[in-house]
């Protein structure tokens, strides 16, 4: 390829496609290099796509995109070994299109088609092997034995960003700041899903689990209803797997067999098994975001926020991709792709929710190291529910007395107050 692209985007996930779509719409020459056989074929989500950010890029995208269900029910479930306690929020018949369950293989393939419609080129089955350097700055990529020249490279190559590493941006992946998600997609008839989860039409449920789903180790579980499948998985800190000599798939099997989950997936057939990493260290693991001729977006830049309620990454990928596109557009206007000009990218992220949320929740990663969150508290909550709901024909005790009895030997009142205070600062 002899021409020089205005931008070469590596990776056709949400971050890469958002950047490429916006650049192509602005009339810039953009090439997206995707190593998978098709866009989305390497991608996995353990989350919900929240609508507003995607809607800023493509208004009313849900009308044409292959979204699965509009999330109308959000449930948080605490698990003990045998029992569970849930908080169930039902948005009712609200017409808001806030969150969607999606399957990334379908969604990302659609998104890449939108990039093509806008005038971008998507080259699938092509791996970016290296960065192309010229006079100390990034000047393109090496892929499939060819040098491909670009004024700027946007690294959207995901959590294992080999390009950000090669560029020496200070990538900090370690077992204590990366979580491993293992996931099953389980097929069930559409009507069964709607009856079982009390859903009408295309409404859907998102359930986040805490406690015995990870058998007391650092992590959580998730369940999302799709149209004709259920996405079920556990997300566990890598360090915890190593320290406890436990496998993610064993936790997933245990989770699936738990009474609270077993009945929800009963009769289903597993149709896919996948695994993916999630950067979960928050602000302190974010590498340098740019250098001469290079910008890093999405998971590649560890732009994921752990709020203590969930891990949110897709919106951060989309927003950072759009900010990168805006930066490249301005750089093209000045015909200057040095890091001085590209520093606009970090300013744009600082003005948006991306760096602001990472700052707001910068204490979360540390807070989530508290093992009582995964064992003592979910267990305690379930025990309290059991004691309160069980009538045994004996004189009853007041709730506070039951709480104190159940806390005994597990957690002190002072410990609990300290944990509540750090939760206040972190979540």
């Amino acid at each position: 390829m002899d021409e020089t692209f205005d931008a070469i985007v590596v990776g056709a996930g949400p971050a890469g496609c958002a950047a490429a779509y916006r650049l192509a719409r602005e009339g810039l020459q953009v090439l997206v290099v995707e190593r998978g056989k098709f866009a989305g074929s390497k991608n996995v989500t353990g989350g919900v796509l929240y609508g507003p950010v995607m809607g800023n890029l493509i208004p009313n995208f849900w009308a044409e995109a292959p979204v699965e269900r509009r999330i109308s029910h959000h449930v948080i479930t605490l698990l003990s070994e045998k029992s569970s306690l849930s908080i169930d929020y039902n948005a009712g018949d609200s017409e808001r299109h806030n969150g969607f369950s999606i399957l990334r293989s379908k969604f990302d393939r659609w998104f890449a088609r939108k990039v093509e419609e806008a005038g971008g080129i998507i080259a699938t089955g092509l791996r970016a092997d290296d960065l192309l350097w010229q006079d100390g700055r990034v000047a393109g990529i090496v892929a499939g034995g060819d040098n491909i020249a670009g004024s700027v490279v946007i690294a959207a190559d995901g959590v294992n960003s080999l390009l950000a590493e090669k560029a020496g941006l200070g990538v900090k992946l370690s077992p204590d700041n990366v979580n491993q998600g293992v996931k099953e997609v389980i097929k069930l008839p559409r009507e069964t899903i709607e009856e079982r989860f009390n859903l009408s039409g295309d409404n859907g449920t998102a359930i986040h689990f805490l406690g015995f789903c990870t058998q007391g180790v650092h992590g959580g579980g998730f369940l999302y209803t799709n149209k004709e499948t259920i996405s079920l998985g556990v997300v566990v800190q890598l360090k915890a797997l190593v320290e406890h000599n436990v496998k993610g798939v064993e936790l997933l099997e245990g989770f699936k067999a738990h009474p609270a989950v077993r009945e929800l997936v009963k009769g289903g057939t597993t149709v896919e098994y996948s695994a993916h990493l999630v950067p979960a260290g928050g602000l302190k693991m974010v590498p340098r975001l740019y250098t001469d001729g290079l910008l890093v977006v999405g998971d590649a830049a560890a732009l994921v926020v752990a709020t203590g309620r969930a891990l949110e990454g897709i919106n951060f990928a989309l927003e950072s991709g759009m900010a990168a596109a805006e930066t490249v557009k301005r750089a093209k206007g000045k015909n200057d792709f040095t890091k001085q000009t590209l520093s606009v990218y970090e300013q744009l992220l600082a003005q948006s929710f991306v760096l602001q949320d990472l700052r707001t929740f910068q204490k979360s990663a540390q807070f989530l190291e508290n093992m009582r969150l995964y064992s003592v508290y979910p267990e305690l909550a379930c025990r309290l529910a059991e004691r309160i709901f069980d009538v045994d024909g004996k004189p009853k005790k007041k709730a506070w007395q039951i709480i104190r009895e159940e806390m005994k030997g597990k957690v002190s009142i002072w410990q609990m107050i300290r944990d509540a205070m750090s939760a206040k600062g972190a979540t």
């Binding site: 056989k37 989305g40 991608n43 293989s105 797997l241 990493l277």
Partner: protein, 92 residues
């Protein structure tokens, strides 16, 4: 739903296996390693202990990268499979 073996799980996925492995191990380093985090963190159980020796098969790799982060001995030379090869998710 009954529990599944790893082989049954991986058989659900579509793979285009490259003749050339995308992950290489430094056998000498692995021989001396007594912790073997790779045995626990690989979701497709590509790493196995056979008669005290570590064996590795790349064919069922889900390309998550857990091994490259968890191995603190620097024994894993890791890259993505060449373009078009490896796992292809139909749902994701």
């Amino acid at each position: 739903m009954s529990p599944m073996t790893i082989a049954e799980r991986l058989a659900l996925n579509k793979y285009d296996v490259d003749a050339e492995p995308h992950i290489h191990l430094k056998a000498e380093t692995c021989q001396k390693c007594d912790q073997s985090p790779c045995l626990y963190i690989c979701p497709s159980e590509c790493f196995k202990l056979r008669e005290g020796k570590l064996s590795f098969a790349y064919e069922g790799c889900l390309e998550c990268g857990s091994c490259r982060i968890a191995c603190d001995k620097g024994a894993i030379e890791w890259s993505y499979p060449r373009g078009g090869f490896g796992v292809s998710f139909e749902y994701g």
